[in-house]
Amino acid sequence: MATSFSLSSGSSCVPLDNILQNRQSIPSQIWVRGNHLSSPNLLINVLFSLFSKASDLQIQLAEPEQLHPKPDPEKLTFGKHFTDHMLSVEWSGKMGWGKPYITPLQNISLHPGAKVFHYAIELFEGMKAHRGIDERIRLFRPDQNMMRMISTSHRSALPGFSGYEFLKCLKKLIWIDQEWVPHSQGSSLYIRPTFIGTDVSFFLGCLKSLPPALGVARSERALLYVVLCPVGPYFATGMKPVSLLADPMYVRAWPGGCGDKKVGSNYGPTIYIQKVAEKMGVQQILWLFGNDHQLTEVGTMNIFVYLINDKGEKELVTPPLDGLILPGVTRRSLLEMARSWSEFKVSERRITMKEVVKACKENRLLEIFGAGTACIVCPVNKIYYQKDVLEIPTMDHPFPLNQRFLKDLQDIQYGQVKHPWAVDIEDSDAIMHEVAATHS
């Protein structure tokens, strides 16, 4: 089987005729991985993850009294202001995917026993839309976020869906709320797709004693939705490097866990630790792992270290995707860009504090910076490690690598440079990558 379509754990137990009884009529055309589906083998799997088409989209526009006044930039705290509309799609085990709706932004009403409240069955994505100098609005590599989201759904025992159709609906949502994307460069619209398990059950196991049709403990109901937030420039008053607290007693992710998935439960527990850092006067946490104190991530971003290595070569290092690291889209983009330049060695390998400290003391450590959607790059100038304070000359070079990355990515995002990574929300879908219902 080329692909496995997720319905949640134990999906293989559900007989086909059971699904067909409950299923609505199959659309005549199903696109999977860019190929017109003809194989009957794949049909079964696709049935589980049939997503409603963007052409089924139901739109209810906000009335004037439901509109939210647009805030001043000084008051634009990240994730505090939302646009006028939202996208939502319901799923149930019985009925499959419902129609996608674009409605005025509103609260969600759930049973207090809903799984999301108890077991954190929640995952999300983070991406941005930018308005270019030509007034067109572009998304940055949205196909990557779609694939990642489907992969996270699989890990969360939530159903898969068509990233292609979902993205079409998302583009429509942004098109409607396009006046929330400022007409200036430096600001953007932050897009937060979220997927939650809304069925009610405290039972988590699989009831093996029951007949297969009933013995599946999976999310029976789920809600996939998107909200949007206008954001100002991350560094409103100019790029200011941050200080990090590197303490191995704080562990973000571990082998066999889900540190490589974008689930809310990875972030909630870090709030307390962030507060501990702030009390010490430090701005972010440098997440270490293992007895050798490997650097994994910084705050909610991937980490990059630019140094002159033991062999005297300039090397850009970032930890590998070994299960502890979130596969960031910015991370991937920086790696691909750096490799395309062929100016220095680019490595995805483990890096330890020992190596960093040694390089720093020998003046071979050039830059350390975080990479993420919110800021693209976040330079680091200080690390508090054990009893030491490492001073890192990240911004002390005439042309820092992190600033070069920033400029090149922003040129793409704001349409100054034409690039397939920047997808116009109004472009025909032919150029979009067709994304399979699940991806692992």
Binding site: L61, E63, D72, S109, E135, E179, S187
Partner: protein
């Protein structure tokens, strides 16, 4: 007949408890967004006339309207807006405006002067040059008023909206090479007393080529339908624009607009320009004012002093003084003093007040003194061009 909007909940079968969705207007997307032009209604969050005029200009200069149309709805705190080629001193009682904190603005489109306040709605229809259709816009407005309140307004031959024989709306437009806009006012619930006192038409006469406003009898919608508010009118017009048949396109609904430099890069500069003296006053077409003043004298014959001023770009370029009386006066001396007015910004009553001071042997009044009306003398209140007894002598 008036519409009534009904609510119905979308039933999502057994799932509807998760999403209570009142449906007011359901729109099914059967065509993609790129087939039909996009149509949007923008409601300005701001009520400063300079900001809103700058925003109007920003849309006109920066948006591409070949595949979209937009309707901007806005109202301003009390102000007088004159047309591009008008004379603010001719159109408005500038002293009254200053004393009452009523601003003066010059817009980019032609036409006459209007008084704006919280009861006067401005509608700006943005289209491509080819799609410009003023009559259609005005008819759409009338349709919205009729549908919602049964208000029977009509579009006149002069593109005014008329209700019971009186004007409720005035229109102006700007047509560029690619873009165009048609804007109009709609008197919903304006303060007619303030309006009459602020607008000055006919009270002063200058020799000028500037566009002069014509007076009309006006009425407000609230005179006939007291329940109508400006918010309701905005919604009614917006709905007709988005959901009616007058304008083709796919609706993106209503949008609140915050006209600041953050949301619209370059807006601050445009606003600065519209607030500048050079624009508001300096763009006034050249004009000439003549003033005659009766001056009581010691002897049995009174003096009449005449003066004329030629104003270029809002500044005094030339000034002449003449006297007719039974007594001789030292004209040359007066002329010398009056010459010092050259280069000063024109203001209402500058001639009268300057002459009064000269004849009293006082120095010329300052701008502050003129604005505050502190110059007292034997002048005839408010009138210039008074016919003098006998004949006039001027140098």
């Amino acid at each position: 007949m008036a519409f009534s909007w009904t609510y119905q909940h979308i039933k999502l079968g057994s799932l509807h408890q998760f999403l209570q969705v009142p449906v007011i207007a359901r729109l099914c997307l059967s065509r993609t967004s790129t087939d039909l032009p996009k149509k949007s209604v923008f409601i300005s969050q701001c009520h400063n006339v300079y900001t809103n005029l700058a925003l109007e200009d920003w849309f006109y200069k920066n948006y591409k309207f070949e595949n979209q149309v937009a309707l901007m709805l806005w109202w301003n705190n009390p102000c007088v807006v004159i047309g591009r080629h008008q004379n603010p001193w001719l159109e408005a009682d500038t002293k009254y405006l200053k004393m009452n904190n009523i601003m003066v603005a010059r817009r980019n489109s032609g036409g006459g002067a209007v008084y704006h306040d919280e009861g006067n709605l401005n509608c700006t229809f943005f289209t491509s040059r080819n799609s410009y259709n003023r009559k259609n816009n005005l008819q759409m407005l009338c349709e919205a008023l009729w549908k919602t309140w049964g208000i029977d307004a009509e579009v006149s031959a002069r593109d005014d909206i008329v209700l019971h024989g009186k004007k409720v709306s005035g229109t102006a437009a700007k047509l560029g090479r690619e873009n165009a806009y048609h804007h109009c006012t709609l008197l919903v619930d304006s303060d007619k007393d303030l309006m009459t006192q602020s607008l000055h038409v006919g009270r002063t006469q200058f020799e000028t080529r500037a566009t002069e406003s014509t007076t009309s009898q006006v009425t407000c919608l609230s005179d006939w339908h007291p329940e109508v508010t400006i918010e309701d009118v905005m919604k009614a017009i917006g709905r007709e624009f988005l959901q009616g048949t007058y304008v083709e396109g796919t609706s993106t609904g209503f949008h609140l607009i915050h006209p600041t430099n953050f949301w619209f890069h370059g807006l601050s500069e445009m606003k600065e320009h519209l607030m500048s003296w050079d624009w508001i006053y300096g763009m006034t077409p050249d004009f000439k004012e003549e003033v005659s003043i009766l001056f009581p004298s010691v002897g049995p014959i009174s003096s009449v002093v005449t003066a004329s001023v030629h104003v270029h770009k809002g500044l005094i370029a030339e000034v002449k003084i003449g006297v007719h009386s039974g007594e001789s006066r030292d004209i040359h001396q007066y002329q010398e003093v009056m010459e010092t007015l050259k280069g000063r910004a024109y203001r209402a009553r500058i001639l009268q007040d300057s002459i009064t001071n000269i004849l009293k042997g006082l120095p010329l009044p300052t701008d502050e003194e003129i604005d505050a009306g502190q110059v007292l003398g034997a002048t005839v209140e408010g009138e210039s061009n008074v016919q003098a007894p006998g004949f006039l002598v001027s140098l």
